[in-house]
Amino acid sequence: MAQTVEFKQTGDLHPALADPATRTLNAGKLTGRWLNTDTETRGVAEITIAQEGGHFRVRVAGAGEGGPVNWPTARARVMANLEEEAGQRAVALAAVFDFGFMKVESYLRVNKGVLVIVAYHTFLDASGRSNYVNREFFHRAD
């Protein structure tokens, strides 16, 4: 990549970032239905990721007191993930879920067949609950 572009770190100059093939790199590794590896989770029970053209939609079901709690569907931002462990080049997703009383900003990636979600929960109500971060792991349902 010619160094006429602006950058803030050397990683901004990686040639793969300008390669159109990078936009769909191993995208199939993320799509599908995923179940939490912890069957007793009190967090996210399952995640479904679907690719619609160049976009991804993320649907989440939280573990609720009386059954699953469906989160608002998020349209995810796709990012190149060029430095995943063991040379696993793929894409990663950034998804934001807006509940009104709470906002969840998350990133999702696949590492050796396991979907990992790291989610930052910000409470916007007056409940006094702390904003918190959580990481959970998922395996394919099918």
Binding site: Q3, V5, E6, F7, K8, Q9, T10, G11, D12, L13, H14, L17, A18, T22, R23, R42, G43, V44, G62, A63, G64, E65, V69, W71, R77, V78, M79, A80, N81, L82, E83, E84, A92, A94, F97, F99, F101, M102, V104, E105, Y107, R109, V118, Y120, H121, T122, F123, D125, S127, G128, R129, S130, N131, Y132, V133, N134, R135
Partner: protein, 135 residues
């Protein structure tokens, strides 16, 4: 109380967060990184700030200082174990999202380009350890 998952159904007490786990210089565990070399974190009167030094072709690049938003491990906890912040460079914007795990900082970087360079947004995850300066 509204909730999105059972974990959020807790009674919480208001009070200051414990941010003692953050201050110091955090150094990338990968000496060959093409990203962030080190972070300097400070806390003053409950305000957490961050200064990033990233690797450039001709040496370190100082990204400047920004405020960081702290996060705990559960909605009932008051101990800070993560943070997020945003750097806006004009031509790009970077969100940093961190978690502390057993003394290690796992830092996710979400880079978004706003210029016409055609570069794809990209994600990086790196590990940082707190420099203790003892030896």
């Amino acid at each position: 109380m509204e909730y999105a998952q059972s974990r959020d159904l807790v009674r919480a007490d208001d009070g200051p967060l414990d941010l003692s786990a953050f201050p110091g210089t955090w150094v990338n565990s990968n000496p060959e990184t093409s990203g962030i070399a080190r972070l300097l974190m400070t806390e003053e009167n409950g305000r957490l700030t961050l200064q990033v030094y990233a690797v450039g072709p001709e040496g370190l690049i100082d990204w400047g200082r920004v405020d960081a938003e702290p996060f705990t491990a559960t909605p009932a906890s008051r101990a800070g174990t993560g943070f997020t912040c945003v750097y806006d460079f004009g031509f790009a914007e970077t969100e940093l999202q961190a978690m502390l795990l057993k003394g290690l900082m796992v830092l996710a970087q979400l880079h978004r380009f706003k210029d016409a360079s055609g570069r794809m947004d990209y994600f990086v995850r790196e590990y940082f350890a707190l420099s203790h300066g003892r030896y």
